[in-house]
Amino acid sequence: MIKISDLQKVYRTEEVETVALNHLSFEVKEGEFVSVMGPSGCGKSTLLNILGLLDDPDGGSFIFNGTEVAHFNERKRADLRKRNIGFVFQSFNLIDELTVFENVELPLIYLGVKGPERKQRVETVLDKMQIMHRRNHYPQQLSGGQQQRVAVARAVVNNPKLILADEPTGNLDSSNGNEVMQLLTDLNEQGTTIIMVTHSEHDSRYSHRIIRMLDGQTVTENILV
């Protein structure tokens, strides 16, 4: 499903040049659950941004679903992204001014899904995430675990092929964290490919494979399953 080879990304400011990705290559198959681990500054987040089509690489190849996307412009990337990828963030990134229902509804709006169908799909996913009773609350009225469940609901509401999770349990206590990991595992079992960046060895054990990074390169790959 994803094949990157020789991927490079360099950040330049006026005086400093930081190599974030240094000729990185790996592959993720459809239905896999992969953890990416490594110390701060090793390039994990840069990798996730490129995989999420939020940013473009400076060099190398990125094949997504059989298409070379490394040189897509912003519009094409946005189009591909909204149809295929769901995001879960450490800090949830819900829009404070929108209710639970409206937050989850947002990706469907941008996909151009009609109102009645939107309502039905949002309700289904909220039900599944057991957050239906909070549908009219605002994010700040929810606990961290509940907020992340909403974020996951939002990530999956458009049935993406790929979910990118950036330290999804980073802001949660362990029981809420386990709950979210269980949700991701369930989604993976239903066929969704998941790539998760994490610091937590505990969380990484939910995945099939761990890619360890250092200074923009992969160091090891552990296959867990």
């Binding site: 519009r75 946005a78 819900l94 829009i95």
Partner: protein
């Protein structure tokens, strides 16, 4: 999608109260200014356009010279209308008009009336003043016919039909009512309560070029006939027979002004005072500038606030929102704000109209606002404002690079900062410019108000002198003097604040024959003393000299007595002392009794020219009564009983001389007040924007402030640091505004012969004031930030 946009816009407005308040207030005030000024301007521009034949009507002005001065007036003698009509085929019809303020009575109803017009019979066919009753072609066809306005008909006759009834003018002649006209609109240079047939006046029987008291209008077949006709008139006035007839010495000619051009462009007042196109331009510019300030507030705040919205924007982007969608969303927000502001502005404008009318001396109504055209223009204005103010922030917000915001948080780029700074400078250039202008205008107005006029206009009561008063003139004066608080009393024709009587003065002097135009005041012996005019040579009129006005034997022995002003004496080439006892001529000869110090007898726009006073009580139209100022109500009551006794058939109405004086500067005072109001608005708006912007930038630097505090920064140094940037911008703006306002105000002051000189302290005061206001605005935020507990701000990061 739109519901979603709307929802989030609405919730954002609720969440950021300061932001919403500043923006809605700013835009509302800006739009209110636009609406009010727009109504004012469009009313001024619409003057006289309601006549069906407006583009075919011309007003005749007269220009004559006595060799030394050129005199111009929008007045003609009685001959111009009929003679031109006979001579030039391009004139279809003419109407001579003149207006008086007589006493009108119907039965026992007697009132002092104004706007009593006399006009030729073609009046109602040339102008579109619709008649509710009567035939436009015949209502003024015969002598002693009069047309009333609807309002006057109600006032005198109530619900009954006035047609065929009569009214009495000045307790003399009866006029038969032949028609009822709809009230003349406000935007008309001709306003009337009554229109009587021109043929009712004795002067109409004789056609003469001189004695120019009449405003003459001509109707042409086509608008384009005006220019050729003008050429024909100029040529005609130079032909020998005409020159012979008008007098060899005087060069007399006439100019045509298109009717719709008169109100805003002509320098000559006719029946009503004119407006001024310059003030129209200035006011329109002020409206645009205020709106610009409000737009800048929006732009600045929205971009500053973008920082707080980067989270939302990036999430939307991650979830698949396109640039276009985001752009539309944020533009939608500014549209929503504008629509709210627009509705509020319309509501507030309607509430403010009475107050505005008072300041602007108009009677604009909200009905004129709720017409298709104004509503359409308002909608366009709203669209323009939301685009002007919202496009840039929307562009910035929708263009934020995703990568930069996902984790590191979004920092406003320095280029955006520069734009904001430039916009602040722009706002303060406008504000400081308006403040300086207001300051100079107010200074000049107070200069006029307090200038020594050469006579004392304070505590002088003015009362009308009717025929009944004339009959017992000395007895009335003696009675007035009996009133305890009365210091002196005298009578004259017209008002000394603006002398209209124009005459010719000639004398044989050591350097030859002198002949020139003067202003003249016919008065009684006590007038000069009553008004406190200063005699610098000779002695005042003597009432006994009245017998020299000897009309027996065909005026053979008729002699005037004169008092000349300094300028007149100078024009004759004499010193004041030399002039005493000399004989000069104002058609009839007379002796110079005294010379008065020059006093201002017209507006400060004009230099003091030669003037003569001559003793002749038959022309006295007003009694001037100098009072001590104590017990005014009692004094007025006493005077009223005197008037009741001596002039029982005339209503008693009084006013003070300084009121006459103030009406001379109505336009300036009005402009000054309007300017004051709008410049205050501008500076308030600019400060409001500054205040909110300071709040945002301070919030942005919370962490920095915290760290500085932990490291030992004092409150003063923090306030200094935070205020410095803004103050610098205001200082730059002041420097830009300074030469602009200097230039503009200098030009404005040139319009006055007597004016203040611009001095540095006026500019310094305003600039210091602007800096102070800005400092107060910004330091409020800075002090708050400086006093906050640093632990809190550091922990939150």
């Amino acid at each position: 999608m739109f519901k979603n946009y709307f929802k989030i816009a609405w919730r954002n407005l609720q969440k950021n109260k300061l932001y919403t308040f500043v923006n809605i207030t700013g835009l509302t005030v800006g739009i209110v200014s636009c609406i009010l000024i727009g109504l004012y301007v469009s009313e001024e521009l619409s003057y006289d356009k309601f006549h069906d034949k407006a583009d075919r009507i011309a007003r005749v002005t007269m220009q004559y010279t006595d060799g030394t001065t050129i005199n111009r007036a929008a007045l003609t003698g009685t001959k111009v209308g009929p003679q031109f009509r006979r001579t030039f085929p391009a004139i279809t019809a003419f109407a001579r008009t003149v207006q008086y303020s007589p006493v009108v009575s119907v039965g026992d109803k007697t009132f002092n009336e104004t706007h009593f017009l006399y006009a030729d019979s073609a009046f109602f066919s040339i102008f579109t003043f619709p008649l509710l009753k009567g035939n436009p072609a015949t209502v003024l066809a015969a002598p002693n016919q009069v047309v009333l306005t609807e309002t006057m008909a109600k006032k005198y006759f109530g619900e009954s039909d006035p047609i065929g009834k009569t009214l009495k003018v000045n307790n003399g002649k009866d006029y038969t009512i032949t028609g009822i006209a709809r009230d003349a609109p406000e935007n008309s240079q001709i306003r009337f309560n009554f229109v009587a047939s021109f043929s009712s006046m004795r002067v109409s029987r004789e056609e003469i070029w001189w004695t120019a008291n009449y405003v003459t209008y001509l109707l042409l077949p086509h608008p384009q006939d005006l220019t050729p006709l003008q050429r024909q008139i100029t040529a005609y006035m130079q032909t020998d027979p005409v020159r012979y007839e008008t007098g060899a010495g005087a060069k007399l000619t006439y100019f045509l002004e298109p009717l719709t051009w008169v109100h805003l462009h002509s320098t000559l007042d006719g029946l009503e005072p004119n407006g001024n196109i310059t003030y129209i331009y200035i006011l329109s510019a002020v409206a645009v500038l205020i709106l610009l300030i409000a737009c800048v507030n929006y732009t600045n705040l929205a971009t500053a606030q973008a920082q707080g919205r980067t989270g939302e924007i990036s999430i939307r982007k991650v979830l698949g929102a396109g640039k276009g969608q985001l752009f539309r969303q944020y533009l939608g927000e500014s549209l929503m704000l504008t629509v709210i502001a627009l509705l509020l502005a319309v509501f507030i404008s309607i509430q403010l109209l009475p107050l505005f009318n008072q300041i602007a001396n108009k009677s604009l109504s909200s009905a004129s606002l709720l017409q298709p055209l104004p509503i359409l223009s308002l909608l366009l204005l709203g669209l323009l404002v939301s685009l002007l103010a919202g496009a840039y922030p929307a562009l910035v917000l929708s263009n934020i690079r995703l990568m930069s915001i996902l984790r590191s948080g979004f920092r406003l780029s320095s280029s955006g900062g520069n734009l904001r700074k430039s916009l602040i400078v722009l706002q303060f250039v406008i504000s400081v410019f308006l403040m300086i202008s207001t300051m100079v205008i107010l200074q000049q107005l107070s200069f006029i108000q307090n200038k020594k006029l050469g006579y004392d206009k304070d505590h002088v009561l003015v009362l009308p002198a009717s025929e009944e008063i004339h009959e017992k003139y000395d007895a009335v004066k003696a009675a007035i003097r009996q009133v305890p608080q009365v210091i002196n009393t005298g009578g004259a024709s017209g008002t000394p604040t603006y002398v209209e009587w124009t005459d010719g003065l000639s004398a044989t002097t050591e350097t030859g024959q002198k002949n020139f135009t003067v202003k003249a005041i016919p008065c009684d012996a006590d007038f000069v003393k009553t008004l406190g005019m200063q005699i610098i040579a000779g002695s005042n009129f003597n009432a006994a000299d009245m017998h020299m006005l000897d009309t027996t034997d065909n005026n053979k022995n008729f002699r005037y007595t004169f008092i000349l002003n300094e300028s007149a004496v100078k024009a004759l080439g004499w010193t004041p002392q030399q002039a005493i006892g000399k004989t000069v001529e104002k058609y009839y000869p007379g002796i110079v009794r005294a010379v008065v110090k020059d006093f201002h007898f017209s507006s400060m726009h004009e230099a003091i020219g030669p003037l003569i006073l001559f003793q002749d009580t038959q022309w006295v139209s007003r009694m001037y009564i100098k009072v001590s100022g104590k017990d005014l109500p009692g004094t007025i009551a006493r005077l009223q009983s005197i008037w009741k006794e001596y002039a029982p058939h005339y209503p008693f109405e009084y006013h003070f001389l300084d009121e006459d004086y103030n009406t001379l500067y109505k336009t300036e005072t009005r402009t000054g007040e309007l300017f004051g109001v709008f410049s205050l608005t501008a500076i308030l708006l600019a400060c409001l924007g500054l205040f909110a912007l300071a709040a945002y930038t301070t919030a942005q630097r919370t962490k920095e402030i915290g760290i500085r505090k932990v490291l030992g920064a004092s409150l003063a140094s923090l306030v200094g640091m935070l205020s410095k940037d803004f103050l610098r911008l205001v200082a730059i703006a002041s420097l830009i505004a300074l030469p602009m306002s200097w230039w503009a105000m200098n030009r404005w002051l040139q319009g006055f012969v007597y004016h203040i000189t611009l001095s540095w302290w006026m500019f310094a005061t305003v600039i210091l004031l602007a800096l102070f206001i800005a400092l107060a605005t910004v330091s409020f935020q800075a002090i708050r930030a400086g006093l906050a507990n640093p632990v809190k701000s550091l922990r939150s990061e």
